[in-house]
């Protein structure tokens, strides 16, 4: 199918008139601005962009977008987005969720949306804390975290969002972070253009309840050594002067000195590999044992649920022709009674008459 020519938009076309009510300094502002820019750059019809969200700070997102939007209930946005895509495959669905909304109360729905590969972009704002309820630990909070609900430290083990998505069969998995609009924009664009469910984890700083949660990796001073930006087809190297690299040692991905490593042994990033094994290995890397990977970990094609539902319906329609209501109601085992006798109406409490 021919892609229609992109429509010329500016970021302002996607900015609603509503006052943004996030805390000053919240990472959400940068994400909002980037998504508005991404949508403008992509030039897809504005009225076809729909933002569906759950509950939480990040889920206020659609209110601030001048698009159609649905701010639903806690954790259930994937279900509404799925229904929307089943009903309206012509719409571009963007789903906004957080670590609590998407991975705790709504973990089940997110898993099934990923498994079904419903075509939508899932922006998962991960700030590793419950913000809107004022500071309890979340399913991505590190163990031993002291919060309002865990004064002696949290004993919960955290969930890795990317590994979760990959295990559920995700076809597009990426990670980016709120202080790098250039990186976010590139990831969002690729996510939107992917045919299937694109899950993007966004490291997002909560300035009030978990300030600096990602500084030890993304801070300007340290990031060169502590994160690695994945690029398709390129060897995975990082650090000052690309002095470090990733290689496969048995079943483990490990860090080596680039200078001391056979260049042929250095892992070349291939997000399009059908096997999710390496993507899963990369998803498990994190500072301090290894650099935290940023960018697209996996990007493969697989039929979408919404596409198949509609294709199947179209095929049945083609094979069987449009349904005939009278035939359906009569069914296959009906019989006729012909008589001139007139009957008094037996008492029926409800008689439907044509209006």
């Amino acid at each position: 199918m021919n892609q229609p020519a992109p429509i010329k938009y500016t970021k302002k076309d996607f900015t609603s008139s509503k006052d943004v009510k996030w805390c000053p300094g919240c990472g959400d502002y940068a994400i909002l601005a980037t998504v508005q820019k991404t949508m403008a750059d992509l030039g897809r019809p504005k009225e076809k962009q729909v933002v569906v969200s759950g509950i939480g700070c990040s889920s206020r997102f659609p209110v601030y977008m001048d698009t159609h939007g649905f701010h639903t209930i806690h954790g259930r946005a994937p279900t509404v987005a799925t229904g929307l895509r089943v009903a309206r495959p012509d719409l571009d669905v963007w789903m906004v969720t957080g670590d609590g909304d998407g991975l705790s109360i709504g973990g089940n729905h997110l898993m099934h949306a990923v498994r079904r590969n419903v075509e939508m972009v899932v922006l998962l704002f991960n700030n590793r804390i419950y913000g809107l309820t004022k500071g309890q630990y979340s399913p991505t909070s590190e163990q031993n975290k002291v919060t309002k609900s865990t004064p002696y430290g949290s004993v919960d083990a955290p969930l890795n969002p990317l590994l979760f998505a990959l295990a559920a069969g995700a076809t597009f998995v990426a990670r980016t972070w709120d202080t790098n609009p250039r990186h976010m924009d590139a990831v969002f664009k690729a996510a939107r253009q992917h045919k299937g469910l694109s899950l993007v984890e966004i490291w997002q700083n909560c300035v009030i309840f978990n300030d600096g949660a990602f500084d030890n990796v993304v801070d300007r001073e340290v990031k060169e050594e502590r994160l690695v930006e994945l690029e398709e087809g390129k060897p995975i190297v990082f650090g000052k002067d690309k002095s470090k690299c990733l290689v496969l040692d048995g079943l483990d991905v490990v860090v080596r000195d680039t200078a001391l490593t056979d260049p042929a042994k250095i892992l070349v990033h291939n997000p399009r590999s059908q096997s999710p094994t390496l993507a899963m290995a990369l998803a498990q890397l994190s500072f301090p044992d290894a650099p935290t990977p940023m960018g697209i970990l996996r990007q493969v094609e697989r039929p979408t649920y919404d596409g198949d539902v509609n294709e199947q319906a179209a095929q049945v329609l083609k094979d069987r022709g449009p349904g005939n209501m009278d035939k359906l109601l009569r069914g296959s085992a009906s019989w006729k009674i012909e008589t001139d006798e007139v009957f008094e109406d037996a008492w029926k409490p409800f008689v439907s008459k044509k209006k």
């Binding site: 009225e47 076809k48 569906v52 719409l91 008492w347 439907s352």
Partner: protein
């Protein structure tokens, strides 16, 4: 030679009972079809265990199918069978108490061996030295298994497969007893197997063997003839409540011009609606089997948001889970139909048994001030019309609507004089696209219905965000107290205004008098039978059966005022009665039963008599 006497009767109640693997549901359905085609009115009551295949021969695995057929109008499946066909001792044990005094018990005597008796918990054969035999009922023992094996001896089949045809033998015997032809069932067997399977021949042979056994065995002193019922001209079929619900939803889609997105999670006794609808994709129906009950409701609501008619369905436990989404649908004022095929509760309760105990849940089971229309079907056929009405209200008033069915009417069947589709009421539906050029306010209301305009995503220039937060007319989030009071009031008034769209309430009997029976839901057939019986005696008793429980009909208060006593019969511990007491401040009387079964007409007659 025994002289078989043929007796003309008005009608009869026959119950087939056996192991859940014995094919009793099929046998009952075939017998019902043949009776209906022969020109009798019918009403059926299938009753099966929650266990798919409980250990064979045990009381836990007993499955039954009762049919009431007669030469005059039949409203209910009958309190007690005149004829009980029991395929094993467990089936005998679980059903013999129900057999009418003077009735006939037919058993497969080959299944009454010591081991069969032990499985049913008997130490000795209950048919031997039983004072009830001959006194309370007539016993006819037929060695069905041996007779079937003999009839099929030339067929190349395993003996175990031959024995499985014994339900057709029993069916053939009953056809002989009621002087029916085998034509319909034979045609059905031929269609099912299409000449490809030895089972085709086997089942036909077993059916004929049963029929011929009646003719030749010389143990039957009576056979019966039920005259055909004079019925208005039309096309007739048999239909269950669940199928009628499915077809009603398809009809709603076509009448409103909307695609139907039916999204559910499997649950007894609602799943058959999904099974029916999943075949009807060429009618603009899409079905989704969601990951859970909540998701099922969310998918349906997402589809409604996109401009389809979103429908979800469940039974009590699943309905509990959907409550938050129903609140969101009410708050964002989107159409949604929630089908609740009620079963025995609380919690997992009695999955395959009927009950009317979700009324309060559907009326009030949400946070906040959140009125939702509640519509209940009265009979299997009425499921079709009532769910169409539920969809009309959902679309025309932009609201979630609960549609209540129950395990009894969902699985039972009625004879249906099929309406012409063109004669059914329409559903008014318009998407707003800003054609009047006025500034768009998402919660601006139609002055008459108070419904907001339906704008779907994809509509240019009308971008807006729906939210479960309180908002003002413009759709902006607002926590202002006065605005909240205004919006709560408007949402309440909108639901109340629906009552203006009903026709006048029908009363069976005099417009005033001593007793008004006021009921709702699947109890209609039994109650109407009881009320008519008392009316024949000249009792001052009238009957109103509600389809709309929220909002209640506007003329109900006046009707109630014309009677000394209002009696509310329900299969629960008294739910509608509380609504009536609260709404009209009257001392309404409650008649209830909660045994997982429909009322018995005789019990209702006794109960109503106390108020006369």
């Amino acid at each position: 030679m025994v002289d078989t006497q043929q007796i003309q009767i008005e009608g009869a109640v026959v119950r087939f009972v056996g192991d859940s693997g014995d094919g009793m549901q099929l046998t009952g359905t075939q017998f019902t079809d043949t009776s209906a085609i022969a020109g009798n009115d019918i009403s059926t009551f299938p009753d099966f265990p929650a266990e798919i295949r409980a250990p064979a021969g045990t009381p836990a695995g007993v499955s039954g199918f009762q049919v009431n057929f007669a030469a005059s109008a039949v409203e209910a499946p009958g309190d007690q069978p005149d004829i009980l066909v029991a395929m094993n001792p467990a089936a005998y044990k679980m059903n013999i108490e129900d057999l009418k005094t003077g009735g006939v018990l037919i058993v497969n005597s080959d299944n009454f061996s010591d081991i069969d008796l032990r499985k049913a918990g008997y130490e000795t054969n209950p048919l031997e030295d039983n004072p009830m035999v001959g006194e309370k009922f007539q016993l006819i023992s037929v060695p069905m298994t041996a007779l079937v094996e003999e009839a099929l001896k030339e067929l190349d089949m395993k003996p175990v497969h031959k024995r499985r045809c014994k339900n057709f033998f029993a069916l053939g015997l009953m056809y002989w007893m009621f002087d029916r032809t085998l034509e319909y069932t034979e045609a059905w067997i031929l269609k099912k197997f299409g000449g490809k399977d030895v089972l085709e021949q086997a089942n036909i042979k077993a059916l004929r063997a049963g029929y011929n056994y009646g003719d030749t065995a010389e143990i039957f002193t009576r056979r019966y003839k039920v005259k055909s019922t004079p019925m208005p001209a039309g096309t007739y079929r048999q239909i269950t409540g669940n199928s009628a619900t499915a077809y009603g939803l398809v009809a709603a889609g076509v009448k409103s011009g909307l695609n139907v997105v039916y999204s559910t999670y499997p649950i007894t006794p609602a799943s058959d609606i999904l099974h029916d609808l999943s075949k009807l994709k060429n009618f603009g129906v899409k079905t989704v089997q969601a990951e859970d009950e909540i998701a099922a409701c969310g998918v349906a609501l997402g589809a409604s948001y996109g401009g389809s008619l979103g429908v979800t369905a469940s039974s009590g436990p699943g309905i509990c889970l959907k409550a938050e989404f129903v609140g969101l649908a009410a708050m964002t004022e989107l159409p949604l139909v929630i089908v609740d095929v009620q079963r025995g509760g609380p919690s997992t309760g009695l999955p395959t048994k009927t009950e009317q105990s979700d009324l309060m849940l559907t009326l009030f089971g949400r946070n906040g001030e959140c009125p939702v229309p509640v519509i209940a079907a009265s009979t299997p056929v009425d499921c079709f019309h009532a769910v169409l009405e539920a969809a009309r209200i959902a679309v025309e008033y932009m609201t979630p609507v609960y549609f209540l069915s129950d395990g009894f009417i969902a699985n039972s069947s009625d004879l249906w004089n099929v309406p012409a589709f063109a004669d059914l009421p329409g559903i008014k539906q318009v998407f707003y696209t800003g054609e009047d050029g006025k500034p768009y306010k998402p919660y601006e209301r139609d002055p008459e219905t108070l419904a907001r305009k339906w704008v779907t995503p994809g509509t240019p220039k009308l971008q807006n965000t729906l939210t479960g937060l309180e908002k003002n007319e413009k759709g902006d989030i607002s926590y202002d107290g006065k605005n909240h009071a205004l919006m709560c009031g408007l949402r309440k008034d909108k639901i109340a205004a629906i009552a203006k769209s009903y026709g006048p309430t029908k009363i069976l009997g005099a417009q005033s008098g001593k007793v008004l029976v006021l009921a709702w839901g699947g109890t209609y057939g039994h109650i109407v039978s009881a009320v008519k019986e008392l009316q024949k005696e000249g009792a001052s008793i009238s009957y109103v059966h509600l389809r709309h429980i929220n909002p209640l009909p506007l003329d109900l208060e006046e009707i109630i005022g014309n009677f000394d006593t209002v009696v509310v019969p329900e299969i629960n511990l008294g739910q509608l009665v509380q609504v009536i007491r609260a709404k009209y401040a009257i001392d309404a009387q409650s008649v209830t039963q909660i045994m997982g079964k429909p009322f018995k007409v005789a019990d209702l007659v006794t109960a109503f008599r106390k108020f006369l």
